[in-house]
């Protein structure tokens, strides 16, 4: 005991809480507080004291005044590491009842720490490729199930949750009106401004009316409306169905023999098919109003002339093709959102993932479908 070699750098007086580790001929003596608060120091001191040395070791813990679970865990962990390194045994001596109890509580045979194999680059590519196939299969299954559900709800309309439909139309349609109006007014306005810059030098002011009317009804009205509905309702549907999926509500529906496609997907699809064309008509009107506003401020065109010109260039085909697009967008949004929602796994985080993937997927599909329709209408000169 006399030839104690101090391991501590600092000299701790006996009345402080600082842990102290002293190694002597008969083993190690630990004193002070073995608590989480002093854990950093304790860990370092023990590490230094146990770094070298071999053979069975006795650790005297009689000097430990206060102990908690964290401190005990650190003592045990260091002792175990020493045992493993030197293939020897560590024994505790002089432990007060509370210290003994805490050491005992924290000294357990630990299951080996499992390692997650890291995926190699090629394996990752392979897995993702595989998953594309799985996804395609899942989408096909979804479409097939939905077709079956549609047939089931035509033959037995009781299957459909009609009560939800009104609420959904209100939420996806009526509630979206203000934002749809505002955005399309601005889109009409900036379209007219850009057109005016190009046409004014040639005295073509009046043709701004043509351009705004055609561009709004054929392209921007349906497209902007779809983008807003995708952000509002698309994300909403995916999150809602995703939450229902992870909280086992979908399973509960199925367990009661209720078709979740009839109960959840069809009402959402119908709601958008009803709401989107209506929103698109409003969008068209406000877009043209935006153009009119620009003309009023910036061009040598009177309001009656602008309206007259708009009336004369707009055909039923312009508005009709836009509405056809909007119905197609309604299908894209509702089906993609519901499909992603129902494919959700993995708790709250999974809901976030499927919502993001739904919105990104929908936006891409909307732009793609829009291009497709525009080309088709050009080819068939509609």
């Amino acid at each position: 005991m006399r030839d104690d070699a101090r391991v501590t750098a600092k000299d701790a007086s006996p009345d402080t809480h600082e842990p102290l580790v002293v190694s002597g001929s008969d083993g190690l003596r630990v004193s002070g507080d073995a608590t989480l608060e002093q854990g950093g120091k304790l860990w370092k001191l023990l590490g230094a004291a146990l770094a070298d040395g071999t053979g069975n070791l006795s650790i005297d813990v009689a000097g430990i005044k206060t102990i908690d679970g964290g401190g005990a865990a650190l003592l045990i962990a260091r002792a175990r590491a020493y045992e493993q390194r030197t293939s020897s045994t560590v024994t505790w001596s002089g432990a007060a009842p509370s210290v003994a109890a805490m050491l005992d509580l924290n000294d357990r045979e630990l299951a080996p720490l499992p390692r997650r194999p890291r995926e190699r680059f090629l394996a990752q590519i392979g897995r993702v490729t595989y998953e594309i196939g799985d996804r395609a299969g899942a989408v096909l299954t979804f479409v097939g199930q939905l077709a079956a559900a549609t047939w089931a709800s035509i033959t037995g309309p009781r299957n459909v949750n009609w009560r939800d439909l009104y609420r959904l139309v209100e939420r996806a349609g009526a509630d979206a009106v203000p934002i749809v109006l505002l955005i399309n007014f601005l889109v009409g306005l900036i379209t007219a401004v850009q057109a005016a810059f190009q046409l004014k030098p040639y005295g073509g002011d009046i043709f701004v009316a043509d351009l705004v009317a055609k561009a709004m009804t054929r392209e921007f009205g349906p497209l902007m409306t779809a983008i807003i509905v995708a952000g509002r309702s698309g994300a909403g549907f995916a999150a809602e169905l995703g939450t229902m999926k992870v909280s086992e509500e979908i399973d509960a529906l199925r367990s009661m023999g209720i078709c979740h496609y009839c109960h959840l997907v069809l009402p959402r699809l119908l709601a958008l098919v009803i709401a989107m064309p209506v929103l698109t008509v409003l969008a068209n009107l406000l877009g043209i109003a935006g153009g009119l506003f620009t003309a009023m401020l910036y061009l040598d065109v009177t309001i009656p002339t602008f309206i007259q010109k708009t009336q004369s260039v707009l055909t039923l085909a312009d508005v009709g093709t836009g509405l056809i697009k909007s119905v197609a967008f309604a299908f894209v949004i509702a089906l993609s959102a519901c499909e992603r929602g129902l494919a959700t796994t993995g708790g709250a985080e999974g809901v976030g993932r499927s919502t993001t993937s739904a919105v990104v997927g929908i936006l891409f599909q909307i732009v793609f479908v829009n291009a497709l329709f525009t080309i088709l209408f050009q080819v068939f000169e509609i």
Binding site: D68, A72, A73, I76, R108, L113, G346
Partner: protein
């Protein structure tokens, strides 16, 4: 309103060491008062159980005690904290939420390590050692690298207990700790709770229905009732089982269906 009659069994241990003092507490939402006029003390080292039927406000009471909700009236005083409220800083309590409330984006080990990483200057390997010990304590060693979505409900709850214990709290709040656990794990958990209270002097407040566990670990309890809108019984559960006069309290402790007196 009829005055609340209360079954009171005397405590077999009296210390003046009050850790939580609740005085004339009323809780509710908006104009609606769920429970009112409640006063009780929790002493150091107590395993204090809050009992009552479903929907009587047990969990709401717990949320008030930790400061997640503010009372309609009355005061709560917690030693070393004052009036509980959620502040940014080292957590004064350990709390287990009913669902475990693990962070889905982190592994089990990362969940338990979070308070240690944030509020101590321990080295990563020291934190890892503590985390392993805490998980071993609840029988979850080996599940360190699993995500919460990959483990069962009971395991989530146990991981939640390990996280609540990680920062060595002086007071531990457990919302239905043994619900969803198998009987063996539940008994082990009871023993751990006893050890923590006995050797660390940890004060533990538990909301639970598990009668076996209540009789084994509780040193004191209160029973809430939503019809009486307050506390209808208090004292050590064994004593209440013997001496309770009210039919509801009797039935609860003897695990009988309440007789229909109509």
């Amino acid at each position: 309103m009829t005055p609340i009659t209360e079954d009171i069994a005397p405590l077999d241990r009296h210390t003046d060491d009050v850790v939580i003092r609740v005085h004339d507490l009323s809780i509710g939402w908006g104009d609606f008062t769920l429970l009112e006029g409640m006063s009780y003390d929790v002493h150091r080292g107590d395993v204090f159980v809050i009992l009552g039927g479903s929907g009587c406000g047990k969990s709401t009471m717990l949320r008030h005690l930790v400061g997640l909700e503010q009372p309609q009236s009355g005061t709560i005083h917690v030693e070393g904290v004052g009036t509980p409220s959620m502040v940014i800083g080292p957590p004064p309590f350990g709390i287990l939420f009913q669902s475990g409330a693990l962070f889905g984006s982190m592994t089990v080990a990362q969940n338990v390590a979070l308070p240690l990483r944030t509020w101590t200057d321990l080295e990563p390997d020291a934190i890892a050692a503590i985390v392993r010990a805490k998980l071993a304590l609840v029988g979850l060693d080996g599940a360190e690298n699993n995500l919460p979505s990959e483990i069962s409900g009971g395991m989530k709850k146990r991981a939640g207990i390990a996280r609540a214990l990680a920062f060595e709290p002086k007071i531990l709040f457990l919302d239905e700790p043994s619900a969803g656990l198998d009987p063996i794990t539940a008994v082990e958990l009871d023993e751990q709770i006893l050890t923590l209270s006995k050797h660390l002097g940890m004060t533990i407040v538990i909301v639970t229905h598990e009668l076996a566990s209540i009789f084994k670990i509780a040193t004191n309890c209160i029973m809430l009732d939503k019809t009486a809108r307050g506390i209808i019984a208090r004292g050590p559960p064994q004593a209440l089982r013997e001496s309770a006069k009210q039919p509801f309290v009797q039935s609860f402790f003897r695990r009988e269906a309440l007789e229909d007196h109509t």
